[in-house]
């Protein structure tokens, strides 16, 4: 028994060390990549893209389900984006509130008999509308299938551009976000098949006339901690994975894809729980099996601002769903593991996700349980335990502050000193008890998945109201 506890503690120690070292390595890569990106931008001006001839058109697809509170602001934001050739498709995914009426009133929609070819299967489309105010806006009214993937597929069937940008119906894009996300595509349109942009936390900020005006850190700790998480995930994780061309997730809240490729793989899998991760995994599989020379890039400056859950219950549901989504994608793609034909994705990216993302809640929970047990059985040095915890705390804080530093060095969206001070303080406080709670939510997600609960639970949202829309 004692030996077993010792092995367990050792495993936890090495697991923890490996996980943090991996993150430290990613932080270092992210610093260099970001600096390189900033320098590269110095020889490029966005208005040149805006005025360039032959820029490929983009279709924005934004599924909206019961978004009456925010849809006007979001659509106005999309219409004000800087990009020469734009088509905007809002998919009203069986909303039971006034989402469609809001759109109809605000943008003078009229029904059109567009040629609709359901190339990718999706729930029945009830009608297609075009705006009289701005002909670039198309609204698809469809029955709900209970998930975002199906709604996005309906949008894909109507899209006419070579590139689609998939975003959430309650997200706000920065005015130059599309120009920025197209920079890698325009530099190498043959190889770059998808680009992910950064998603930031909208809660607490102010929107005026469809534009983000004043970026502030949310006041509620549960929202502010998510800011640190998002910074860490995007500015460190995705930046580093993207640099090594091993990006496995392009966020569903803001991602650009080549339309022909999405259609070639049959669009989004309607039954998937984590539809964004699933799409990118299938894209990798499709292209690697064809032995294509391609890149899926992450660009850290085109920003999408989205609302995050503001209560524990919604956050728990969201995180449980993410964990379910992870398993839902990793399990069907287990045949890609360590197979030479799947290259770096099969030998590095997916094993990392299995070990440090999927198994993390299980290993950490078991580890903590055994540490407690060892302490009870007096086989654990109390002094060492405290030191180990302190070390862990300080090491993890370095990573979190590193992500805040990364934001400071590059984008500096939080102008106020107080916000930065608060953000840094959350880097210290997120480790207890938020981290432990987070682990339990993720465990719950796995448990639900094994019990057959594959429902796509949409978290409760306040709409852009939380962002002080005016």
């Amino acid at each position: 028994m004692i030996r077993l506890l010792e092995i367990s503690n050792e495993t936890l120690f090495w697991y923890f060390l490996a996980s943090n070292c991996a993150y430290l390595l990613m932080l270092i890569i992210a610093f260099f990549t970001s600096a390189r990106h900033q320098r590269r931008l110095k020889s490029q001006r966005l208005e040149w893209i805006q005025n360039a001839p032959l820029v490929p058109p983009i279709t924005i697809i934004a599924p909206a389900h019961n978004e009456e509170a925010s849809i006007r602001v979001a659509v106005r934001n999309f219409l004000e984006l800087d990009y020469p050739e734009l088509e905007i498709i809002i998919v009203n995914d069986g909303s039971q509130d006034r989402t469609l009426d809001e759109l109809r009133d605000a943008f003078m929609l009229r029904p059109v008999r567009a040629v609709y070819v359901p190339e990718i299967p999706c729930a029945r489309v009830l009608g297609i509308y075009r705006s009289d105010k701005d002909p670039r806006l198309i609204v698809i009214d469809k029955l709900s299938c209970g998930n975002k993937a199906d709604a996005t597929n309906a949008g894909l069937n109507v899209a006419t551009s070579p590139y689609v940008c998939v975003i959430d119906g309650d997200s706000i894009l920065e005015r130059d976000a599309l120009l920025r996300i197209m920079v890698p595509v325009l530099a190498d349109p043959q190889r770059v098949v998808a680009v992910g942009g950064i998603v930031r936390v909208l809660n607490g900020s102010t929107i005026e006339g469809g534009q983000l005006r004043n970026v502030r850190l949310p006041r509620r700790p549960i929202e502010a901690i998510q800011v640190v998480e998002y910074l860490r995930a995007f500015l460190i994780g995705r930046e580093a994975w993207g640099r090594a061309n091993m990006l496995t997730i392009v966020s569903g809240a803001f991602g650009l894809f080549r339309t022909d490729l999405i259609r070639a793989i049959g669009g989004y899998r309607a039954s998937s729980i984590g539809e964004d991760f699933d799409l990118v995994a299938r894209l990798h599989r499709h292209l690697l099996e064809k032995r294509a020379d391609y890149e899926i890039r992450f660009v850290p400056d085109p920003m999408s601002w989205t609302e995050v859950p503001s209560d524990l219950k919604s956050l728990a549901r969201q995180r449980a769903r993410w964990q379910k989504g992870l398993l839902d994608v990793l399990w069907p793609n287990r045949d890609m593991l360590f197979r030479p034909r799947y290259g770096r994705i099969g030998s590095i990216a997916l094993p990392y996700l299995w070990i440090f993302e999927l198994f993390a809640p299980v290993i950490e929970t078991l580890g903590i349980a055994t540490i407690i047990l060892a302490a009870c059985l007096h086989v654990l040095s109390r002094t060492f335990f405290i030191q180990f915890m302190l070390f862990g705390f300080a090491f993890a804080t370095v990573i979190s502050i590193g992500s805040v530093l990364q934001e400071e060095l590059t984008y500096r969206r939080y102008k106020d000193w107080k916000d930065v001070a608060l953000l840094v303080s959350y880097c210290f406080f997120e480790h207890f008890p938020y981290r432990q709670l987070h682990m339990l939510w993720r465990l719950r997600g796995l448990w639900d998945y094994f019990r057959g609960n594959h429902a796509w639970n949409q978290p409760k949202r306040k709409g852009l109201v939380s962002a002080g829309v005016s």
Partner: protein
Amino acid sequence: MTSIFEKLWRLGPAAFVLKAIAAAIVADALLLAFILIRRAYRRRYFARRDARVFEWRQKWDALLSGEIPYETWRNKPFDRDIVESMALDAFEIAETEESARLLNFLRISGLIEKRIFEARKLTGWRRMRALVALGRTRAPEGIHTLAEALRDPSLEIRLAALRGLGRTASPQAADEILQWVGECGLTVPAMPLQSALIHCCAERPQALVPYVQNAKGPLREILGRVLGEVATPSVDLDVLQLAGDEVDELRATAARAYSRSKSGSAFDVLSELARDQVWFVRLRAIVSLGKLSDPRSVPVLVRALKDSNRLVRLRAAEALLQLDTPMVAVFAKVVETRDRYGIYAYLTALDNANLRAKLAADIDASTDIDAVQKERLHAVLETGALPVDPRFHAPEKNPVLASRR
């Protein structure tokens, strides 16, 4: 076997763990300090810069005319950067006269020479920045340096040089780019090359023609695409040759170029290209026919409504709506095709252009068609369904034959 905890603990009081804790805490403190110091520094820097920009803006005319001696700001990097970026920003939106004044200022103050020097001697991102800034000056003396950088082994440098040359928008830059692609082939991605050439060849598209004729493979297609974009009636004859080229992209180029042609043969060439085997050649030809606004295009466009490609059908419908011909007559012809996809494409374009109500009113007001036909057209307009063709009516039941059975 001893546990990892024991091994680490045995290292003594100055143990690894203690060191690690100390290192991590120091790292935290350093990161924090860095953030705070950097914030303070930047705040001060931008306040200073803002004040300086304001100061120079007040003295802008004196600065440009040389009343303020150049030495007062040239030797201070902080001031030089501000003045240069102000001048280049002004250059982007300047009219001819103002451009000449700004160029003269950049020349006399030695800023162009400095950029040329940097573009030749520096490396990495500094060189890239210098190349683009040099291009933004649009100074002819910078073109040679930019062209030299096109031969650099680094792709990033080549791209920066290409962007710089594109910004000059001058025929000399076009010659340099074309000469380079002629020598080295396609060593940069297509999009930046196209953009640069479109800017530089707009004045003199003839420069492209020999290269389009002699280039090979994807480069020829790219150059063709550029020619299609910048072609003017002056290159009609050269473009005509491309209409019969074996490369699909070049036939598409010809179709695109002919949308701006003033030649009498444009309609014939485009009608021929609208029958091409390749869908995007047909697409280009249909779009160009719409732009030509020649009433003779109606039959060609109506035929294109039956095309196997959805985009060709849609563009043909849009082109039909652009024509200056009576809508009712065109709609009657569309209905006569009895092609469900074609009729739908036309109705979609009609809806998109918000012309449905106008067509309905035109049908009512038309004196060229009888009441039955009006009703028929209205029915198609409302339902989108094919009208019943009397030729295909089922014969009335013959009572004699029926009784025999």
